[in-house]
C-alpha cells in the first residue's frame, strides 16, 4: 500500500528525514511516533505530497509520489484522507458543507453528495449537528466532522496528524474508537502520527519510532514496548534502576499468559525467594502484556531459567 525506501529530506541543508525505509500494509493501523521535531509530521506529509522529499523512493498505491504532475497528485490525494491536530474545518461553512466540500470540489452531483454526507453523519453520530457551524461544536465533535470530511471521497488511506493531541483523555478515547471502527468496518488503512504513547498502545498494530529524523525502532507494538532496546528505553524515558548484585532476569509475558500466576507458582515450586525489582503490565491493542525483572543469586539463576524454559511460556533474558 505504502512503500518507502531510503527516503531522506533536507531542509536548509539540515537532514530532517534520514534514510527511512518502511512498508505499510493494506488494512493496518500504523503509528509514526516521536517527540516534537523528530520529523514525524514531515514524513506523514510526504505520503500525500504536502511535503517533498530529496532522496529515495516513496510509492503510494503503486505511484511514485515525486514523479506525479499536479493533477495526478490531486487525483492520488482523492484516495488519501487526512485529519489534523486543530481540525482545520472551514469556520464559515456548516457541518454539512464542510463534509460535502471534497465531493463538491471534485464535481459530484448534489444527490450523490447529500446521500454520502448523511451516511457519514450517521457514522460519526452527529446527525443532529448537520447545520451547526464549527464554533458551536466541541473539540471532539469538530474532529469527528473532520474525520467525516476525510472519508467523503471513500479514501483507501487515512492520515492522522496528531489528531487527538488537542483533546482531553475521554474524547481522545472516543475518537480512537471511531478510527478503529473505520479501520475495521471500511477497511481503511490508517497512519497515525502522535507523540502520545497511550494512543499508539491503544490502536496501532505496528509502529515506527523516529528521533531526529532517524528510525530508532520499527516493528510490532508488543515487541517495541515489551522488549525495548536501549534507544527505545531512553525514548520512553524508562531508565530502570536495577541492583548491581546477583542476576537480573527479565520475563516477558505474552498476552496468553499474562493473567497466569507464574511468578508466585515458580517461587513455591522451586522453594526460592527473589526480589521483584521492576515490572509493568500494559494493554496493547486490547491485549494485556507484561514485563517483569527479578533479581536472584548468581547460583540460583540457572535453576530459575531452567524452570522458565521448561515449565512456562514466558520469554526471558538475563540482563
Amino acid at each position: 500500500m505504502i512503500d518507502i525506501k531510503h527516503l531522506s529530506k533536507y531542509f536548509n541543508n539540515q537532514k530532517v528525514l534520514d534514510d527511512i525505509s518502511l512498508h505499510v500494509n493494506a488494512g493496518e493501523i500504523f503509528a509514526i511516533v516521536g517527540h516534537s521535531g523528530a520529523g514525524k509530521s514531515t514524513l506523514l506529509r510526504c505520503i500525500n505530497g504536502l511535503e517533498s522529499y530529496s532522496e529515495g523512493n516513496l510509492s503510494v498505491l503503486d505511484k511514485e509520489v515525486k514523479t506525479l504532475s499536479a493533477s495526478e497528485l490531486n487525483s492520488l490525494r482523492s484516495h488519501i484522507g487526512m485529519i489534523f491536530q486543530n481540525f482545520s474545518l472551514l469556520n464559515q461553512k456548516n457541518v454539512y458543507d464542510n463534509i460535502a466540500l471534497p465531493m463538491s470540489v471534485w464535481g459530484y452531483d448534489k444527490d450523490a453528495i447529500q446521500k454520502r454526507v448523511d451516511e457519514l453523519l450517521s457514522l460519526i453520530g452527529l446527525e443532529h449537528k448537520k447545520f451547526a457551524y464549527p464554533k458551536e461544536l466541541s473539540g471532539g465533535q469538530k474532529q469527528r466532522v473532520a474525520i467525516a470530511r476525510a472519508l467523503t471521497l471513500n479514501p483507501k488511506i487515512l492520515l492522522s496528524d496528531e489528531a487527538t493531541s488537542a483533546l482531553d483523555p475521554n474524547t481522545t478515547k472516543s475518537i480512537l474508537e471511531l478510527l478503529q471502527e473505520i479501520n475495521a468496518k471500511l477497511g481503511v488503512t490508517i497512519i497515525i502520527v502522535t507523540h502520545e504513547m497511550d494512543v499508539v498502545k491503544k490502536v496501532a498494530s505496528r509502529a515506527l519510532l523516529l528521533e531526529d529524523g532517524k528510525v530508532i525502532g520499527l516493528g510490532r507494538i508488543e515487541e517495541l514496548f515489551l522488549k525495548p532496546d536501549e534507544k527505545m528505553m531512553k525514548f520512553l524515558g524508562e531508565d530502570e534502576e536495577l541492583p548491581s548484585e546477583g542476576a537480573n532476569i527479565r520475563l516477558f509475558f505474552p498476552s496468553n499468559v499474562s493473567y497466569q500466576p507464574i511468578v508466585t507458582q515458580m517461587a513455591r515450586e522451586l522453594d526460592l525467594n527473589f526480589n521483584i525489582v521492576w515490572g509493568k503490565l500494559e494493554k496493547l491493542n486490547n491485549h494485556v502484556v507484561g514485563s517483569l525483572v527479578i533479581n536472584v543469586d548468581e547460583q540460583t539463576a540457572n535453576v530459575v531459567t531452567h524452570y522458565l524454559q521448561t515449565k512456562t511460556e514466558v520469554i526471558w533474558e538475563i540482563l
Binding site: L76, S78, S88, Q92, L101, K135, A146
Partner: protein, 225 residues
C-alpha cells in the same frame, strides 16, 4: 433667540447646496470604493498567491507589486491628486469635478484595499488550506472555494473601512477642484468664513460615516460564523 432664528433661516437657504454636495460626495465615494475594491481584490489575490507561503510562490511578481503598492501608499493623498492630473485628464477629459475625482480616489485607495484584503486572506488558518490540498483541491479552487468564503467577513470589514476613508479623501479632493461636501466646506465655509456651512458639512459627514459603519457592522454580523 434671534441668533437661533438666523441660524435656521441661513441653514434652510443652504439646503439645496448641501443636498447637491451630499449627492456628489456619495457618487464619488461609492463609485470609487466599488472600482478600488475590484482592483484591490485582483491585486490581493495576486499577492496572496505569489507570497512565499502562498499556493504559487513567485518572488519577482510579489516584490514588484509589493513595492508598487507601497509607493502609491506613501503619497499624501492631496499630492497624488495633483500628480495624477494628466492621467485624470486623459481618462475623463478634464481634471476637475466630481467624476474626474473618481480617478485619483480609485488609484489612491486601491493599494490600500489590496493590503486590507491581503490581510483578510492571510488571517485564514493555513491548516485549512492544507486540509483542502489534502483532498485534492486545485489552486484555483483553493482561492475561490476556501480562502474567499473564509475571508469574506473580514473583506466586508475592510471595504467598510475603505469606504469611510474614501469619504474623508473625497472631502479632501473637494479642495483641489473636486465637488462634494469638501468643496462646500472650502468655498463657502473657509473662503467666505461662514461657520454655519462648516457646521453642516461636518454634521453631514459624521452622520454619513456613522451610517456606513453601522451597515458594515450589520453585514459583518450576519455573515460571520
Amino acid at each position: 433667540m434671534e441668533a437661533l432664528v438666523t441660524f435656521f433661516e441661513k441653514s434652510l437657504a443652504m439646503k439645496s447646496v448641501l443636498m447637491d454636495a451630499l449627492l456628489e460626495t456619495l457618487t464619488m465615494s461609492l463609485v470609487s470604493t466599488f472600482l478600488a475594491t475590484l482592483i484591490g481584490f485582483v491585486l490581493a489575490i495576486i499577492l496572496i498567491t505569489t507570497d512565499k507561503n502562498g499556493i504559487a510562490p513567485n518572488a519577482y511578481t510579489y516584490k514588484f507589486l509589493d513595492v508598487t503598492i507601497n509607493m502609491l501608499r506613501s503619497f499624501p493623498f492631496i499630492i497624488l491628486i495633483i500628480v495624477l492630473f494628466p492621467v485624470t485628464k486623459f481618462l475623463v477629459g478634464k481634471h476637475t469635478g466630481t467624476f474626474a475625482m473618481i480617478v485619483p480616489l480609485t488609484i489612491g485607495t486601491a493599494p490600500f484595499i489590496a493590503r486590507m484584503i491581503e490581510g483578510a486572506f492571510k488571517e485564514v488558518d493555513s491548516s485549512v488550506v492544507e486540509a483542502a490540498k489534502s483532498f485534492g483541491t486545485s489552486k484555483f479552487q483553493i482561492i475561490f472555494r476556501v480562502l474567499l468564503p473564509e475571508a469574506y467577513p473580514s473583506i466586508i470589514s475592510a471595504i467598510t473601512l475603505s469606504l469611510i476613508i474614501i469619504v474623508g479623501f473625497s472631502a479632501m479632493a473637494g479642495t483641489v477642484g473636486g465637488g462634494g461636501l469638501g468643496a462646500v466646506a472650502m468655498n463657502y465655509g473657509y473662503y467666505r468664513f461662514d461657520g454655519i456651512y462648516i457646521f453642516w458639512t461636518v454634521f453631514i459627514l459624521i452622520v454619513l460615516v456613522q451610517i456606513f459603519q453601522s451597515i458594515g457592522d450589520f453585514l459583518y454580523k450576519i455573515i460571520k460564523h
